[in-house]
Protein backbone atom coordinates (compact mmCIF):
# COMPACT_ATOMS: atom_id res chain seq x y z
CA UNK A 1 0.00 0.00 0.00
CA UNK A 2 1.45 3.35 -1.04
CA UNK A 3 1.76 6.12 1.55
CA UNK A 4 -0.72 8.83 0.44
CA UNK A 5 1.60 11.60 1.69
CA UNK A 6 4.67 10.31 -0.18
CA UNK A 7 6.01 12.84 -2.68
CA UNK A 8 8.33 10.90 -4.96
CA UNK A 9 11.46 12.52 -6.32
CA UNK A 10 14.37 11.46 -8.54
CA UNK A 11 17.38 9.94 -6.90
CA UNK A 12 20.48 12.13 -7.11
CA UNK A 13 22.68 9.50 -8.70
CA UNK A 14 20.95 9.57 -12.10
CA UNK A 15 21.94 10.95 -15.48
CA UNK A 16 19.09 11.16 -18.00
CA UNK A 17 18.84 11.67 -21.73
CA UNK A 18 15.86 11.77 -24.06
CA UNK A 19 16.14 9.43 -27.05
CA UNK A 20 13.19 9.96 -29.37
CA UNK A 21 10.13 9.24 -27.16
CA UNK A 22 12.04 7.22 -24.59
CA UNK A 23 14.10 8.29 -21.60
CA UNK A 24 17.52 6.74 -21.04
CA UNK A 25 18.67 6.71 -17.41
CA UNK A 26 22.03 5.78 -15.97
CA UNK A 27 22.23 5.10 -12.25
CA UNK A 28 25.81 5.81 -11.22
CA UNK A 29 25.18 4.41 -7.74
CA UNK A 30 24.36 0.95 -9.05
CA UNK A 31 26.00 1.13 -12.51
CA UNK A 32 22.61 0.21 -14.02
CA UNK A 33 21.00 1.50 -17.21
CA UNK A 34 17.24 1.87 -17.71
CA UNK A 35 14.99 2.83 -20.59
CA UNK A 36 11.55 4.29 -19.84
CA UNK A 37 8.80 4.43 -22.45
CA UNK A 38 6.91 7.65 -23.02
CA UNK A 39 4.25 6.99 -20.34
CA UNK A 40 6.76 6.08 -17.64
CA UNK A 41 8.95 9.03 -18.71
CA UNK A 42 6.13 11.54 -18.14
CA UNK A 43 5.40 10.09 -14.70
CA UNK A 44 9.12 10.04 -13.87
CA UNK A 45 9.51 13.70 -14.90
CA UNK A 46 6.66 14.67 -12.57
CA UNK A 47 8.46 13.09 -9.62
CA UNK A 48 10.15 16.28 -8.43
CA UNK A 49 9.31 15.96 -4.74
CA UNK A 50 6.40 18.43 -4.86
CA UNK A 51 3.49 16.10 -5.76
CA UNK A 52 1.88 13.07 -4.19
CA UNK A 53 0.92 10.06 -6.33
CA UNK A 54 -2.64 11.34 -6.51
CA UNK A 55 -1.46 14.76 -7.68
CA UNK A 56 0.74 13.13 -10.32
CA UNK A 57 -2.29 11.14 -11.53
CA UNK A 58 -4.27 14.41 -11.76
CA UNK A 59 -1.52 15.89 -13.96
CA UNK A 60 -1.58 12.82 -16.19
CA UNK A 61 -5.37 13.02 -16.57
CA UNK A 62 -4.88 16.48 -18.12
CA UNK A 63 -2.54 15.00 -20.74
CA UNK A 64 -4.44 11.92 -21.91
CA UNK A 65 -7.68 11.38 -23.75
CA UNK A 66 -10.41 9.91 -21.56
CA UNK A 67 -10.58 6.12 -21.65
CA UNK A 68 -11.76 3.24 -19.59
CA UNK A 69 -8.40 2.66 -17.87
CA UNK A 70 -7.80 3.71 -14.27
CA UNK A 71 -5.13 6.44 -14.41
CA UNK A 72 -4.64 6.42 -10.65
CA UNK A 73 -3.96 2.68 -10.68
CA UNK A 74 -1.57 2.96 -13.66
CA UNK A 75 0.37 5.79 -12.00
CA UNK A 76 0.53 3.89 -8.72
CA UNK A 77 1.88 0.79 -10.46
CA UNK A 78 4.46 2.80 -12.40
CA UNK A 79 5.62 4.65 -9.29
CA UNK A 80 5.98 1.30 -7.52
CA UNK A 81 8.14 -0.01 -10.35
CA UNK A 82 10.27 3.14 -10.47
CA UNK A 83 10.83 2.93 -6.71
CA UNK A 84 11.65 -0.77 -6.95
CA UNK A 85 14.32 0.03 -9.56
CA UNK A 86 15.74 2.71 -7.28
CA UNK A 87 15.00 5.56 -9.69
CA UNK A 88 12.81 7.53 -7.26
CA UNK A 89 12.65 7.81 -3.50
Amino acid sequence: MMDATWKPRHRGTLATEEVEDDLLLYDSGKDHVHLLNVSASVIFELCDGTRTAEEIAQEIVKLVTPGDHDIGKDVGRTLGELREKGLIE
Binding site: A15, T16, E17, E18, V19, E20, D21, D22, L23, L24, Y26, S28, D31, V33, H34, L35
Partner: protein
Protein backbone atom coordinates in the same frame (compact mmCIF):
# COMPACT_ATOMS: atom_id res chain seq x y z
CA UNK B 1 58.29 -2.84 -25.05
CA UNK B 2 56.91 0.69 -24.79
CA UNK B 3 53.63 1.46 -26.55
CA UNK B 4 50.99 4.18 -26.69
CA UNK B 5 47.55 2.78 -25.91
CA UNK B 6 45.03 5.63 -26.15
CA UNK B 7 46.31 8.20 -23.64
CA UNK B 8 48.46 5.72 -21.71
CA UNK B 9 52.13 4.98 -22.28
CA UNK B 10 52.63 1.35 -21.30
CA UNK B 11 56.08 -0.05 -20.67
CA UNK B 12 56.80 -3.72 -20.09
CA UNK B 13 60.23 -5.09 -19.24
CA UNK B 14 61.06 -8.77 -19.38
CA UNK B 15 64.14 -10.94 -19.18
CA UNK B 16 62.38 -13.81 -21.00
CA UNK B 17 63.08 -13.54 -24.76
CA UNK B 18 60.00 -15.58 -25.75
CA UNK B 19 57.74 -13.33 -23.68
CA UNK B 20 59.38 -10.26 -25.25
CA UNK B 21 58.74 -11.67 -28.73
CA UNK B 22 55.09 -12.39 -27.95
CA UNK B 23 54.58 -8.89 -26.51
CA UNK B 24 55.98 -7.44 -29.73
CA UNK B 25 53.63 -9.67 -31.75
CA UNK B 26 50.50 -8.85 -29.75
CA UNK B 27 51.14 -5.11 -29.62
CA UNK B 28 52.81 -4.76 -33.03
CA UNK B 29 50.24 -2.41 -34.54
CA UNK B 30 50.16 0.06 -31.65
CA UNK B 31 52.39 3.14 -31.97
CA UNK B 32 55.54 3.43 -29.88
CA UNK B 33 55.10 5.21 -26.55
CA UNK B 34 56.93 8.47 -25.91
CA UNK B 35 58.11 9.86 -22.60
CA UNK B 36 57.62 8.56 -19.09
CA UNK B 37 55.34 5.51 -18.90
CA UNK B 38 52.02 5.96 -17.10
CA UNK B 39 51.71 2.19 -16.62
CA UNK B 40 54.81 0.04 -16.05
CA UNK B 41 55.12 -3.70 -15.57
CA UNK B 42 57.79 -6.37 -15.47
CA UNK B 43 57.43 -10.00 -16.52
CA UNK B 44 59.88 -12.45 -14.96
CA UNK B 45 60.35 -16.20 -14.92
CA UNK B 46 60.48 -17.61 -11.39
CA UNK B 47 60.03 -21.06 -9.91
CA UNK B 48 58.80 -22.57 -13.18
CA UNK B 49 56.17 -19.87 -13.75
CA UNK B 50 55.95 -16.49 -15.41
CA UNK B 51 55.01 -13.56 -13.17
CA UNK B 52 53.63 -10.12 -13.97
CA UNK B 53 54.94 -7.58 -11.48
CA UNK B 54 53.72 -4.03 -11.07
CA UNK B 55 56.26 -1.29 -11.75
CA UNK B 56 59.72 -1.26 -13.23
CA UNK B 57 61.70 0.01 -10.24
CA UNK B 58 63.35 -1.89 -7.43
CA UNK B 59 60.22 -2.78 -5.46
CA UNK B 60 57.86 -4.80 -7.60
CA UNK B 61 54.53 -6.12 -6.39
CA UNK B 62 53.56 -9.48 -7.96
CA UNK B 63 50.13 -9.37 -9.61
CA UNK B 64 49.52 -12.79 -11.19
CA UNK B 65 51.29 -15.67 -12.88
CA UNK B 66 50.92 -18.01 -15.85
CA UNK B 67 52.33 -21.35 -16.85
CA UNK B 68 53.72 -20.47 -20.29
CA UNK B 69 54.94 -17.37 -22.17
CA UNK B 70 51.77 -17.26 -24.30
CA UNK B 71 49.51 -17.69 -21.28
CA UNK B 72 51.16 -14.87 -19.35
CA UNK B 73 51.05 -12.51 -22.34
CA UNK B 74 47.36 -13.36 -22.87
CA UNK B 75 46.61 -12.79 -19.16
CA UNK B 76 48.64 -9.58 -19.14
CA UNK B 77 46.89 -8.17 -22.23
CA UNK B 78 43.47 -8.93 -20.74
CA UNK B 79 44.43 -7.48 -17.35
CA UNK B 80 45.88 -4.35 -18.97
CA UNK B 81 42.75 -3.43 -20.88
CA UNK B 82 40.33 -4.15 -18.09
CA UNK B 83 42.61 -2.24 -15.71
CA UNK B 84 42.71 1.10 -17.50
CA UNK B 85 39.74 1.22 -19.89
CA UNK B 86 37.09 1.94 -17.19
CA UNK B 87 38.86 5.18 -16.29
CA UNK B 88 39.24 6.52 -19.85
CA UNK B 89 37.32 9.79 -20.05
CA UNK B 90 38.31 11.39 -23.33
CA UNK B 91 36.64 8.75 -25.54
CA UNK B 92 33.75 6.34 -25.50
CA UNK B 93 35.16 2.79 -25.36
CA UNK B 94 32.70 0.21 -26.66
CA UNK B 95 32.74 -3.56 -26.48
CA UNK B 96 32.76 -4.04 -30.25
CA UNK B 97 34.54 -5.59 -33.18
CA UNK B 98 35.15 -3.11 -35.99
CA UNK B 99 35.94 -3.32 -39.69
CA UNK B 100 35.80 -0.58 -42.31
CA UNK B 101 35.45 -0.25 -46.04
CA UNK B 102 35.16 2.80 -48.31
CA UNK B 103 35.86 5.19 -45.45
CA UNK B 104 32.98 3.90 -43.32
CA UNK B 105 33.09 1.78 -40.18
CA UNK B 106 30.85 -1.09 -39.20
CA UNK B 107 30.57 -1.93 -35.50
CA UNK B 108 29.64 -5.40 -34.24
CA UNK B 109 28.62 -4.87 -30.64
CA UNK B 110 27.81 -7.33 -27.91
CA UNK B 111 28.94 -9.22 -24.85
CA UNK B 112 31.36 -12.14 -25.04
CA UNK B 113 29.90 -15.06 -26.95
CA UNK B 114 27.63 -13.05 -29.24
CA UNK B 115 29.80 -13.71 -32.29
CA UNK B 116 31.66 -10.42 -32.72
CA UNK B 117 35.05 -11.99 -33.27
CA UNK B 118 33.82 -14.71 -35.60
CA UNK B 119 31.81 -12.27 -37.72
CA UNK B 120 34.68 -9.77 -37.78
CA UNK B 121 36.97 -12.54 -39.04
CA UNK B 122 34.38 -13.75 -41.56
CA UNK B 123 34.04 -10.22 -42.98
CA UNK B 124 37.82 -9.91 -43.31
CA UNK B 125 38.01 -13.32 -44.99
CA UNK B 126 35.09 -12.60 -47.29
CA UNK B 127 36.28 -9.31 -48.68
CA UNK B 128 39.85 -8.08 -49.02
CA UNK B 129 38.61 -4.49 -49.06
CA UNK B 130 37.70 -4.56 -45.37
CA UNK B 131 40.36 -3.18 -43.06
CA UNK B 132 40.67 -4.36 -39.48
CA UNK B 133 40.15 -1.88 -36.61
CA UNK B 134 39.49 -3.87 -33.50
CA UNK B 135 38.19 -6.92 -31.74
CA UNK B 136 36.45 -6.21 -28.43
CA UNK B 137 37.83 -2.74 -27.63
CA UNK B 138 36.70 0.15 -29.83
CA UNK B 139 37.52 3.77 -28.99
CA UNK B 140 35.11 6.37 -30.38
CA UNK B 141 35.36 10.14 -30.35
CA UNK B 142 33.20 12.93 -31.67
CA UNK B 143 34.61 14.93 -34.54
CA UNK B 144 33.65 18.57 -33.81
CA UNK B 145 34.11 19.55 -37.49
CA UNK B 146 31.77 16.91 -38.89
CA UNK B 147 29.59 16.32 -35.82
CA UNK B 148 30.04 12.59 -36.35
CA UNK B 149 31.42 9.79 -34.26
CA UNK B 150 34.72 8.37 -35.48
CA UNK B 151 36.29 5.09 -34.46
CA UNK B 152 40.06 4.73 -34.08
CA UNK B 153 42.09 1.59 -34.75
CA UNK B 154 42.77 -0.52 -31.66
CA UNK B 155 44.33 -3.52 -33.38
CA UNK B 156 44.54 -6.20 -30.75
CA UNK B 157 44.58 -9.87 -31.75
CA UNK B 158 41.21 -11.38 -32.63
CA UNK B 159 40.27 -14.10 -30.14
CA UNK B 160 38.41 -17.08 -31.54
CA UNK B 161 37.17 -20.02 -29.52
CA UNK B 162 39.06 -23.11 -30.63
CA UNK B 163 36.00 -25.37 -30.35
CA UNK B 164 33.96 -23.29 -32.79
CA UNK B 165 34.55 -24.69 -36.29
CA UNK B 166 35.61 -22.08 -38.83
CA UNK B 167 34.18 -22.26 -42.36
CA UNK B 168 37.50 -20.91 -43.65
CA UNK B 169 41.16 -21.50 -42.97
CA UNK B 170 43.29 -18.79 -41.41
CA UNK B 171 46.95 -18.28 -42.34
CA UNK B 172 48.92 -20.32 -39.81
CA UNK B 173 51.70 -17.72 -39.61
CA UNK B 174 49.15 -15.20 -38.31
CA UNK B 175 47.63 -17.48 -35.66
CA UNK B 176 48.63 -18.58 -32.18
CA UNK B 177 46.90 -21.29 -30.18
CA UNK B 178 46.51 -21.38 -26.39
CA UNK B 179 45.07 -24.88 -25.81
CA UNK B 180 44.61 -24.54 -22.05
CA UNK B 181 42.12 -21.72 -22.66
CA UNK B 182 40.79 -23.09 -25.99
CA UNK B 183 41.61 -19.77 -27.65
CA UNK B 184 43.01 -19.13 -31.09
CA UNK B 185 44.54 -15.66 -31.62
CA UNK B 186 44.42 -14.26 -35.13
CA UNK B 187 46.47 -11.22 -36.14
CA UNK B 188 45.36 -9.95 -39.56
CA UNK B 189 48.65 -8.12 -40.01
CA UNK B 190 48.11 -7.10 -43.65
CA UNK B 191 44.75 -5.55 -42.85
CA UNK B 192 45.46 -3.25 -39.90
CA UNK B 193 43.77 0.13 -40.27
CA UNK B 194 45.87 3.21 -39.67
CA UNK B 195 43.45 6.13 -39.42
CA UNK B 196 40.04 6.81 -37.92
CA UNK B 197 36.79 6.70 -39.91
CA UNK B 198 33.17 7.67 -39.17
CA UNK B 199 30.77 5.09 -37.76
CA UNK B 200 28.09 4.18 -40.34
CA UNK B 201 26.38 1.05 -39.06
CA UNK B 202 25.96 -0.68 -35.69
CA UNK B 203 24.96 -4.34 -35.44
CA UNK B 204 24.20 -6.25 -32.24
CA UNK B 205 24.70 -9.93 -33.16
CA UNK B 206 23.06 -12.87 -31.40
CA UNK B 207 23.57 -16.44 -32.50
CA UNK B 208 20.29 -18.11 -33.47
CA UNK B 209 20.22 -21.70 -34.64
CA UNK B 210 17.52 -21.24 -37.23
CA UNK B 211 17.65 -17.91 -38.97
CA UNK B 212 19.50 -14.95 -40.42
CA UNK B 213 17.61 -11.73 -39.84
CA UNK B 214 18.18 -8.03 -39.25
CA UNK B 215 15.75 -6.40 -36.81
CA UNK B 216 15.86 -2.62 -36.78
CA UNK B 217 16.33 -1.24 -33.29
CA UNK B 218 14.47 1.68 -31.80
CA UNK B 219 16.88 4.52 -31.05
CA UNK B 220 16.21 4.19 -27.32
CA UNK B 221 16.96 0.47 -27.39
CA UNK B 222 20.23 1.13 -29.23
CA UNK B 223 21.17 3.76 -26.64
CA UNK B 224 20.40 1.30 -23.84
CA UNK B 225 22.59 -1.39 -25.40
CA UNK B 226 25.42 1.07 -26.10
CA UNK B 227 25.43 2.26 -22.48
CA UNK B 228 25.55 -1.35 -21.27
CA UNK B 229 28.44 -2.09 -23.64
CA UNK B 230 30.60 0.89 -22.67
CA UNK B 231 33.82 -0.04 -20.87
CA UNK B 232 34.21 3.43 -19.38
CA UNK B 233 31.24 3.70 -17.12
CA UNK B 234 30.45 6.08 -14.30
CA UNK B 235 32.76 9.07 -14.68
CA UNK B 236 32.49 9.23 -18.47
CA UNK B 237 28.72 8.73 -18.55
CA UNK B 238 27.95 11.14 -15.71
CA UNK B 239 30.32 13.69 -17.27
CA UNK B 240 28.32 14.10 -20.48
CA UNK B 241 28.92 10.71 -22.06
CA UNK B 242 25.25 9.71 -21.87
CA UNK B 243 24.35 12.61 -24.15
CA UNK B 244 26.95 11.51 -26.71
CA UNK B 245 25.72 7.90 -26.54
CA UNK B 246 22.15 9.12 -27.16
CA UNK B 247 23.38 11.15 -30.13
CA UNK B 248 25.26 8.16 -31.56
CA UNK B 249 22.14 5.98 -31.20
CA UNK B 250 20.01 8.57 -32.95
CA UNK B 251 22.36 9.20 -35.86
CA UNK B 252 23.68 5.78 -36.80
CA UNK B 253 21.38 2.97 -38.04
CA UNK B 254 21.28 0.04 -35.62
CA UNK B 255 20.05 -3.53 -35.99
CA UNK B 256 19.86 -6.68 -33.95
CA UNK B 257 21.42 -9.36 -36.10
CA UNK B 258 20.22 -12.92 -35.60
CA UNK B 259 22.74 -15.15 -37.32
CA UNK B 260 23.35 -18.87 -37.69
CA UNK B 261 26.27 -19.31 -40.11
CA UNK B 262 29.16 -16.83 -40.20
CA UNK B 263 29.85 -16.67 -43.95
CA UNK B 264 26.18 -16.23 -44.86
CA UNK B 265 25.89 -13.61 -42.14
CA UNK B 266 28.99 -11.82 -43.45
CA UNK B 267 27.52 -11.77 -46.95
CA UNK B 268 24.26 -10.25 -45.66
CA UNK B 269 26.13 -7.75 -43.48
CA UNK B 270 28.26 -6.60 -46.40
CA UNK B 271 25.18 -6.18 -48.57
CA UNK B 272 23.44 -4.08 -45.90
CA UNK B 273 26.61 -2.07 -45.21
CA UNK B 274 27.30 -1.27 -48.86
CA UNK B 275 23.66 -0.32 -49.38
CA UNK B 276 23.89 2.50 -46.84
CA UNK B 277 23.70 5.98 -48.24
Amino acid sequence: MKKALLSEVVEVETDVPEVGGLLETFFQAFPPGQGKPSLAYTIRAFDGKFWVLEGNGEAKAPLFCGGSPLEIVYLFETFLYYHFLPSVNERLILHAGVVAKGGKALLLLGPSGSGKSLLTTALLERSEDFSYFSDDVSPLSMSPEEGKYHVSPFPRAIRLREWIPLPFSLPSNQCLLLPSYSIRFFLPVQRFATSEVPVSLMLFPEWDSSRLEFLQLKKGEAALYLTCLAFNKTEYIMGGGLSLIAQLAQEVPSYRLLWDEPFQAAEAIEKLFLGLR
